[in-house]
Each structure stands twice: as structure tokens, then as C-alpha cells.
Amino acid sequence: MSRGGRTGGRGRGAALAVGPLVFLALFFAWPLTLVLSRGLGVDGALLAPLRDVLTDPYLQQVARFTLGQALASTLLTLLVGMPVAAVLSTLDFRGRRVIEAATIVPFVLPTVVVGTAFVALLGRLAPVVDLRQTTLAILLAHVFFNVSVVVRTVGGLWRHLDAAPVLAARTLGATRLRAFLHVTLPRLRPAIGAAAAVVFLFTFTSFGVVLILGGPGRSTLEVEIHRATSQLLDLRTAAALSVLQLLAVVATLGVYDRTRRRHAARPLARAALSLRPAAGPRDRMAIAGMLGLLMLVQGLPLLALLERSLRVGDGWGLAHFRSLGAPTREAVMSVAPAVAVRNSLLFALAATLIAMVVGTSAALAAVGGSRAGRLMDGALMLPLGTSAVTLGLGLLLAFRTGAFAGRGAILLVPLAQALVAVPFVVRTMLPVLRGIDRRLREAAATLGAAPRRVWREIDLPIVSRAGLVAAGFAFAVTVGEFGATIFVARASNPTVPVAIHRALGLPGAVNLGRAMALSVLLALITGATVLLIDRIRVGAVGRF
């Protein structure tokens, strides 16, 4: 059946795809091509550097470890995230939304800070179980970061599933587990696929966590790219490694696209049918179990961070928070933390705005599920899995003249941040757009709304509120963004992550305390923003 009917949906979709594609070409494809061509152009051949990289036993080991830890992290994140998503999307209880918003907080914390918190935690656990400098420590940190991706993506779909088929399966003699495996799980597959793809991309390009927690012998492709670029100025190797990384990312997206296509465009139930008030000891146990799990993987490291921010000398106090009002020194680069907070908010808002415009256009263009739409959707995911070092260098090469040179470089910060946020906007909006009941549009038409009016009265209000949810995600992603920021920022107006980084660049308890207090502040701001945005909902489709 023709989706657009007589409204010319195809033409509109194509026009809407132009914006995102130009954005992607300008701020991703072009810079990346510049770096790669520069690196691979050294001896004119693409294959020679690739072969060198692929035959180097050390890099082989790195590639194996990178892939292995990413797969293991993805699996572990799903294992932890699924039960949490299950409870949060089937049981309603006091504090559910706060917990859901809180799971996203780790997402915005700088790696160094998380590393510090983890080291503190693992140090205390050492007498019981010594996880220091193990691969498991890396995996746990990855779970800590990414569990919210699973909770939000899978949970969003889950609570829109009609509960009836599960009940039917139960009456047909299926145990809870079998009903889940045979009825619920297949219907969740598109969301699980999406979440797994995003987590894989994040962990595949993981950098700081690997070295701070992994100890000797554990390096990822991203570390090697950083090393080749920043230290060795060996663009040939860096480019070859980046190509390798990109190929892996494209392959991942290919697999993801296959799982998604098979389950595409399945309309959501129009009410949050699977969410019911918690009652009885069984529910209470499920909630307690979920909270225990979250406490273990997210709560403990966050508490360790909070504890460090409150530790003053041998006691505890709010001194570090009080010190945030003023810079440590009257120096050019030592901006007051309050200013850094303001900068962060401004950058994040600008990036969110850009990501929203680009992401919304992309989601609208992709909603028809056409081949071109799917390709664009996949292409927009690429920045998530691309080396921040390579991309940063490419942006530098691409924009060192023109509007983004000099003071204009500051414009690059939100643009680079938006690159990372766009996939989240698309992921958040697309299911809502696809889930809009076609008959709502038809009802509006029979009530006298012309096609344009239908778009304005039906699609736009529903999408724009879903868009606010997407904006919250984009905000959270950008407010803590560090990799791209540090690479393209050049003016003396640091964001909070940059300020944390600077504070952690000098010895001294005060510096550490400030960094930790700033991290807690960043976490609070993010949590509050997400919670605020999560409260905006529209009927049955507002929350995804």
C-alpha cells in the first residue's frame, strides 16, 4: 500500500535526505577522505599499507583483542541491560523514571574520571576479588557506560508491545521463560539489534578505558591509531588502521541492517500495554533484583566517584564543590568551572539543535524504509564507529581555512559533537515515526485536513514531542563529549570535560577534588536534563 498516498511522500523523502547527506559528506566523508588519502597516498596504493598492517603480528593481536573485547562487552552489556529493561518496561513503580534517567548518567562522564572511580572501586574489592588490570575490568567499565543504550532502546520498544500474545502463550502452557524466548524476544529483535550495534561501535573504538583498566598487553585499534597519528606522525599506518576499523564498522552495520530489515516497520501497539503496576512479592523481588544489578554495575562506580568528590583530606566535606565558583588561579586558561559549565551547556545545546535538524530530516527521509533511506540511516551511524583521532585530524585538514579557521574553529565543536549525536536522534525518532498509525493521518484527512495540514497537525506534533526525547539523548551525548571537542576546540573556552581534563593534568588533592566535583556536577546536570525531557510524553507514542 502506498504510504504517502496522494501526498507525494517519495518526493518529500528525497528532498529531506539532502540535508543529512550534505552534512555527512561535509563533516564526515570529506575530512575522513582527506586523512585516508593522505595516509594511503604515500606510496599510491591502498592495499600495500593495509597488507603491512594485516601482516604485522602485533597489530593482528591488537585487532583480535579489539574485536574480542567489543563482542564480549556487547554481549555482557546486553546480558545486564535486558533484565533491567525487562523490569523497567513491564513494571510500574515509584521512582521508575528516576532510575531510568539515572542509567544514562555514566554516558557523559569523561573516561579518565570513570577510570579513576573504577580504580578506586577495584582497589577496595581487591581483597575479595582482584579484577585490577584484567580484561573483565574493561568489560565492566564498558557495561557501566553503555547499559543505558540497551535499557532505553530495548525498553522503549518493549513497553509498547501488546501484552496479549505473551498471555496467550502462557495459557498455551508456556513457562514465563519460554513465553519470553518465543514470543517477546523475537518481537524485541530490532531494538536489540540496534542497541547491540551501538554498543559494539562504542566499545570497538574504546580508548581510555582500555589502557587505564586493562594494564599491559591490552591495546585497541583506536589506541594504535592515536599512537600512529599523535606520536609517530605515521599517517600511513593510521590510515590503514582507520580503514580496517571502518571495514569492521561497515560489516557490523550490515549485520544490523539485516536484522532490522526483517523486522522493519512493525507498528507499535498504541498504548503502553506491557507496563503494569508492580504488585506482590514476585514483582518486588524482580525490582529488587534489577536495582541490585544496576547498583553493582553502575551504582558502585558512581558512589565511588561521589565519595571521592566529597573526600577532603582525611575527612569529608563540600569544599571541592564550594571551590567550583572561582578559578584556581588568575590565569588565561584556568577558567572558572561555572564558565566551563556554561560553555558545556551552550555547546551541547548548539550540537543538540544541529543534531535535531539533521537527525529529524534523516528520520523523515528514512521512514519509508526505502533502500536509499536505509543506506543513509546506516551511513549516519558510521561516525559512531570511526576513530575520533582520525576524524579530528580530518576536520582539521578540511577546515583549516574558511569559516572554521581561527576563531571560527569554535563552530566545529558543536558540528563534530552533532556527528555523534545524530545517530541517536534517528534511532529515537524513527520508531515513533514508523509507529504513527496511518489511520491518524487518514482520520485527519477525512476531517478536512489537506496533506500539508495533516503533516502539520499529526506528524509534526507527535514527532516533535518524540523529538524532545531525542533531544535529551543528544544533549546527554554531547554534553560529555570529549574526544572531538579536545581535537577541534582551540579557543580558551573549555567545556566541563575539558576543564576536568585540565584539572587532572596537575598534581594535588585540590585539583583531583575539583575534577571529581565537576564530574558529579556534570552527572547531575545530565541526569536532571534527561529526567526533565523524559517527562514530556504524548499519548501512547510519546515515549520511545
Partner: protein
């Protein structure tokens, strides 16, 4: 002249075969027409064609004499009540009902008046500012109806609007429909697969079979004179038997019946040869056990009769259900006030047949 006239309508999906073919239909002002058919018979598609949500391959649709083929959906002046209501989740009750008047460009005061009136008509004035997901199913259905009525449509289309509601509520809402339509002097086309619903609400019933309207008539005429075997079967008027026609007598394994003169001439299978014989339930009466071989005189006195085997008699509230098997193995259920004199199960029963009510159709349907 009809308010809505559909003639020779053909429609389908993509490059596929026709889903609707040669559909003829009319709805008069102040009238409720029920569109009755099995699922998959094309009822909803026909409704969408009339509303302008689905393209025609050919045929005419006119409303008040105006050719609708060139009129886009939003300008047709047709109200459509969707299955499952399709209420706007981002508007409350008032927002939903006010949508149409707003689209028509009415000012605030007039819109408010329309909303108030429409909500009052469906008895929901007290829920004006309720959110949609806080309404019960019945309330949602009423909002959907009010929303469609608030545009003052000339024609109201209802697509299985009561499908998801429980029976008492459904019956109440169905009963309210004719009043709403007659009061507004508009026409309504109600899609349903439920005969009871059609009978309760409709002035006329259109029976759809396999993508076309086979018969459009008052319920009485429809039941008395189904146009073909499929319509008869769909309506459940009675049982259809394979018979051999010979000189005005229909015979088969069930027995033999002599048809009255009008049927011999007007029937589609007027000639001799194989045919389908419709035995309407209301033409039958179980009278008693047949007598011995010399009881032929009694049979003649009772008019035409058939012999059947009694399977079971059950009390079904107010009346009794009598389950029988005819001589050719066809099962038949009759309702009767009086079961006295019937033998015990397994015994033979005589059925008195009102031959004027019999119908003969061509074979093979």
C-alpha cells in the same frame, strides 16, 4: 434520488487483481445502510474508496449528485469513524472533536458550539477535557463518532466501529445510531460482519460477497428473497440442498417437494435438471413423528412435508432448539415454542414445509 450513489466501482491493490468489482450501492438521506459481509469480502476497502482514501480503478461515486472522483479526501464532506477509533493521542477529547471544525476554518465560538453539540449528542459533555488514554473503549468510540459528526458531514461512514466493545455496550451504541442519523438528516453506511448489528441499526442492508454488493434490500426482503445461494448461506436463512428439478418437483436424498407455480416459472433454475434448493428455517415446522406407511393422507393434509431424524432437543432460553438430520445427511436446527409431541432422539420427525418460501438457485454455487 440517493444521497450516495456508487456505480460500477472497481478497485484493487498495486498491480493485483480487483478486490472490488462492479460495486453498485446507494444510501439515502436519513437512512442507515449496513454493509454486511464476511471478513475479506472488501467492505473496508469499499468504505475507503468512498472516503477517498483508496483510489478507484473505474466507476462512479457521487454524493448529492456531485462527482467525488475529482474531489480530494479532505473536501468530500464525509465523516469516517475508524475501526479502533484512530483518535489523536496528542489531543484531548475536545481537541479531537474540534479538529474538523478547525480544518473547516470556523472561528473559536462556532467551533466550541459544534464541539459542545457533538459531545452532547453522544452523551460525553462531561468528559470534554479528558485525555484520550483515560477513556474507556465505549467512550473512545463515542468521541470518534462525535469527531466525525462535528464536521456536519452529509454522509457518515462507520468501519466496524463497535468491534472492540462488549455486547451490551455495543447494542446500546448501535441502537443510538439511527437516531443520530435521522436527526441530522444525513446518511450513514455502517460496515459490520455482525448480522444482529446490521438488523438493529440498518434501514437497508447491503450484502457483500467476494468483492461486490450482491444484494441491497430491507432486512425483511433480504431474508425472504435472497438473491443467490451465497447470500442465503451468508445470512444463514436456512439450509441449501442439492436437488434435481423435474416438472416442478424438487427431489433428492432428502425427499421430494412440489414447488408452487410462481417458483416454477420465475426461478433461475426454472428448467429441469440439477439445482440448489433453499429450505428457509422459517418455512419449516416440526410437527410430529410420521405415521406408518398408510399415513400418506396425513402428509397431504399437512401440505408438503419432509422426513428428518431428530438428533436433540435443547431448551435455549424462551425457545427450544431442535437439531435434525435430513434424509441426505444435512444438519438443520429449528427454533420452536412448542416441542410437545416430538419423539425421543433418534426417531423420525415430520417437517411441514411452506413451499411458497422455498427458493431455487442454479447448481454449483
Amino acid at each position: 434520488m440517493g444521497l450516495l450513489e456508487v456505480a460500477g466501482l472497481r478497485a484493487g491493490y498495486g498491480d493485483g487483481p480487483d478486490v472490488l468489482s462492479d460495486v453498485h450501492l446507494d444510501v439515502r438521506s436519513g437512512e442507515v445502510v449496513a454493509l454486511l459481509g464476511a471478513s475479506g469480502s472488501g467492505k473496508s476497502t469499499l468504505l475507503r474508496c468512498i472516503a477517498g482514501l483508496h483510489p478507484l480503478r473505474s466507476g462512479d461515486v457521487t454524493l448529492d449528485g456531485r462527482d467525488l472522483r475529482r474531489v480530494s479526501v479532505e473536501q468530500r464532506g464525509i465523516g469516517l469513524v475508524f475501526q479502533d477509533h484512530a483518535l489523536f493521542p496528542h489531543h484531548d477529547v475536545t481537541g479531537n472533536v474540534a479538529f474538523g471544525p478547525r480544518m473547516q476554518g470556523l472561528d473559536r465560538a462556532e467551533t466550541a458550539a459544534r464541539v459542545a453539540r457533538a459531545l452532547a449528542d453522544v452523551g460525553l459533555g462531561h468528559l470534554a477535557h479528558r485525555a484520550i488514554d483515560e477513556l474507556s473503549g465505549g467512550e473512545q468510540q463515542r468521541v470518534a463518532l462525535a469527531r466525525a459528526l462535528a464536521t456536519r458531514p452529509r454522509l457518515l461512514l462507520l468501519d466496524e466501529p463497535y468491534g472492540s466493545l462488549d455486547r451490551p455496550l455495543r447494542e446500546r451504541l448501535v441502537d443510538e445510531l439511527p437516531g443520530l442519523v435521522r436527526g441530522e438528516d444525513i446518511g450513514a453506511l455502517l460496515v459490520t460482519h455482525d448480522q444482529q448489528e446490521a438488523l438493529r441499526a440498518a434501514d437497508r442492508v447491503a450484502v457483500m460477497v467476494a468483492g461486490t454488493v450482491r444484494q441491497l434490500d430491507t432486512p425483511e426482503r433480504l431474508w425472504a428473497d435472497p438473491v443467490d445461494a451465497e447470500v442465503a448461506a451468508f445470512l444463514g436463512v436456512g439450509v441449501l440442498l442439492d436437488a434435481e428439478m423435474h416438472g416442478g418437483v424438487a427431489s433428492g436424498a432428502f425427499g421430494a417437494l412440489t414447488l408452487p407455480p410462481p417458483l416454477r416459472t420465475s426461478s433461475a433454475a426454472g428448467g429441469d435438471g440439477p439445482a440448489r434448493l433453499l429450505l428457509p428455517r422459517r418455512a419449516l415446522r416440526a410437527i410430529a413423528a410420521p405415521g406408518g406407511p398408510d399415513a400418506a393422507g396425513d402428509r397431504a393434509a399437512a401440505g408438503a412435508t419432509l422426513t428428518a431424524t431428530l438428533v436433540e432437543v435443547r431448551f435455549a432460553g424462551e425457545r427450544h432448539r431442535i437439531d435434525l438430520v435430513l434424509g441426505d445427511g444435512t444438519r438443520l436446527t429449528l427454533l420452536s415454542d412448542d416441542v410437545s409431541g416430538l419423539p425421543s432422539p433418534g426417531a423420525a420427525v415430520t417437517l411441514a414445509v411452506d413451499v411458497d418460501a422455498l427458493r431455487v438457485f442454479p447448481p454449483g454455487q
